[in-house]
Amino acid sequence: MTQFIGMDRRQFLAALSAFGIAGAGAGRDAWAQGREPVKLGLTQPLTGSQAGFGADFVTAMRMAQKDINDQGGINGRPLELVVIDTQAQPQLGINAVTRLATVDKAGVFITAWSAVVKAQAPVANREKILQLSVGANSPDIARLGDYVYTLFPLADVDITALAKYTYGTLGKKKAAVLYINNDTGIDAAKIYRAVFEKEGGQIALFEAYDPAATEFTGMLLKLRAANPDVVHIHGLLVDVPLVVAQMRQLGLRQQITSYSAAYNPKMLEQLGAAMEGFIVTSLAPGADENPNVQPHIDRWIKEVGRVPNGLPFIQYNYDAVLICARIFKHALDNNKPLTGENLRDSLLAIKEFNTPLTGKTVIEGHRVNKPVYLVTVKDGKFTPLAKLD
């Protein structure tokens, strides 16, 4: 990774207090005093095919929890994370949020995976528990109801920027879009096509593949016949490496782009030289742009033994916990009980958050807008390429 720049951990924690959540000098004894904890729900896939990301998200959030509690918690009260496994499945997501709302009585929870977020929304709206989506990117999420907000930019943000960059800056006029035939792929692929065509480009091939498919020769030969300048692949951890490997093995040398899920060290391992020149979007600043990122990566290496899966998502999840802590504090300072309704009001009242790992977060409606970072693979490593506002 790039050079160490910026703060060490002590300075970082000081910045955290400046962020405004440290208790009034209560210190580490907050726990020992037995103050009632403040509950934050997390519904993430801890098992199932997405667990690689989900488990890491939870780890990042636990790091944030530790940092908050080390500073004295929230107004002296420790932050408690109630974690429930969703396996990235909608039905389990529904069970999880019902339980958080009615058994654990949490006023807010952080969730991810578009299908799960959509399934949970009716329950969140009904039970009046604040639902914060971090990581899911279906554009529908901004329209799921009064109690559903996303702290992560939706697909229209990064895919739009990528499509424009591909046409305008990279100068590619003819694109092919290959996407996984599910929630993740369909919405995003449509956005890419719409934006690319609007810019003046031509879509040579627009093809969905089955999530369970492992053999893409037919589709890739169609691609070869269509002869695009660039190929955008919108898929997940298992299929994207297969598509890329088979593409390169068939002798197709086009530029490939993808979105944040491909920003994954494991994929680099699997594909090796085949991934050279790959471009992925990232919605979070890299270590070059933000001095807080490298210490966080170092912390992962020290505490977990490796870099995280999906670094940009990790950054958002860490910051999301801080945002929650901030709204908890706001409600407590105003002597309001920590219900979903009050927490939502606090979220909207504060509106702007100086989140350390992702830069400023501004709530606009039910969503956030952020700059898009492009990262490329150079000499076997992910390297920053551009920042698009």
Partner: protein
């Protein structure tokens, strides 16, 4: 595009080669069905064991492939034999119905899959770190080293089985038991032994298949359940009791899926498979076969009255 011979040949090559793992799985599944009469869904669990045993041996024990593969074979064989001895035999003794066997084998598969999830997690894993394989261009067709291994392995395994069934005593006993277990017993052939031998053969084929699948892409504990579906469909289309036709059916199915992509969107690939299955079942309930060309019987000429 559809008339480009290089393209059509490429699809033919890659389609056939990637069908190789399905051929191995189908043979294992179909042979089991032939000899025991059972649709043994527990094989999905055995697939998981084969893969993760190899994965563990290669990546955690640091063994070379020459040791890891037999290690995985051994683990799979043990699992298959245990299921046979303590599960299926008991159910047979009770004259259990098809449904019971169905539930039992499926539950065993799930049981194994949950254990594998607990032990290995659910992140997709490959046997080796890289999935890339060196490519050679032969007559405009891209052929990878993996392709050659796959074809070679499948050919050897299938030929070995054919030889086994034809020329060894145990092989012939398998066929006898498949035809009529009770009758075979009367001739002193042990059905039980035949079931065990079948389990071992299936385990070997499964391990071979999982080596191929696992060196090509990421595997999760749930993947075998998807894979076994292909084996089921191919077995059905090949015809019950016709193991090598089942193997052919898997290749044909894979080719149909691959070629279909040229004329329609890829996302319909799977649907095509099921549609095919359903139609085939309704029209060819005994598996697809062509009417045998019958030689006209030689009928002696009628003797005219009077000589």
């Amino acid at each position: 595009m559809l008339t480009d011979p290089a393209l059509l040949l490429q699809v033919l090559w890659t389609g056939t080669v990637t069908a190789s793992s399905y051929v191995l799985l189908t043979v294992g599944f179909s042979l089991t069905q032939k000899v025991t009469g059972l649709w043994n869904f527990a094989q999905a669990g055995f697939m998981g064991i084969a893969f993760y045993a190899m994965y563990f041996a290669l990546n955690h024990l640091g063994l070379p492939l020459l040791l890891a593969f037999p290690f995985a074979c051994a683990c799979t064989i043990i699992a298959a034999l245990v299921t046979e001895a303590w599960g299926l035999n008991v159910l047979r003794a009770r004259h259990s119905s098809h449904l019971t066997f169905f539930i039992f084998t499926l539950i065993v598969a799930e049981f194994i899959i949950y254990w594998l999830t607990l032990l290995f997690g659910t992140e997709p894993q490959t046997l080796f770190k890289s999935i890339m394989s060196p490519v050679h261009i032969v007559w405009e067709i891209a052929i990878t080293d993996w392709d050659l291994v796959a074809i070679g392995m499948t050919a050897v395994f299938v030929a070995a089985l054919a030889g086994f069934l034809r020329w060894t005593k145990d092989g012939q006993f398998l066929v006898a038991v498949a035809d009529n277990a009770k009758l075979a017993e009367l001739y002193g052939i042990s059905a039980r032994r035949a079931y065990y031998v079948t389990a071992v053969i299936a385990a070997l084929f499964i391990t071979g298949a999982m080596y191929l699948v696992g060196t090509r892409g990421g595997i999760t504990p749930n993947k075998p359940l998807e894979l076994i579906l292909n084996a089921v469909i191919a077995t059905l289309l090949g015809g019950m009791g016709r193991v090598f036709m089942g193997a052919l059916a898997s290749v044909v199915l894979a080719l149909i899926q691959s070629y279909s992509v040229l004329i329609m969107s890829s996302r319909w690939q799977n649907l095509l498979l099921y549609g095919f299955l359903f139609v085939a079942i309704v029209i060819f309930p005994r598996g697809i076969h062509f009417p045998k060309w019958r030689k006209r019987p030689v009928v002696p000429a009628a003797v005219p009255p009077g000589g």
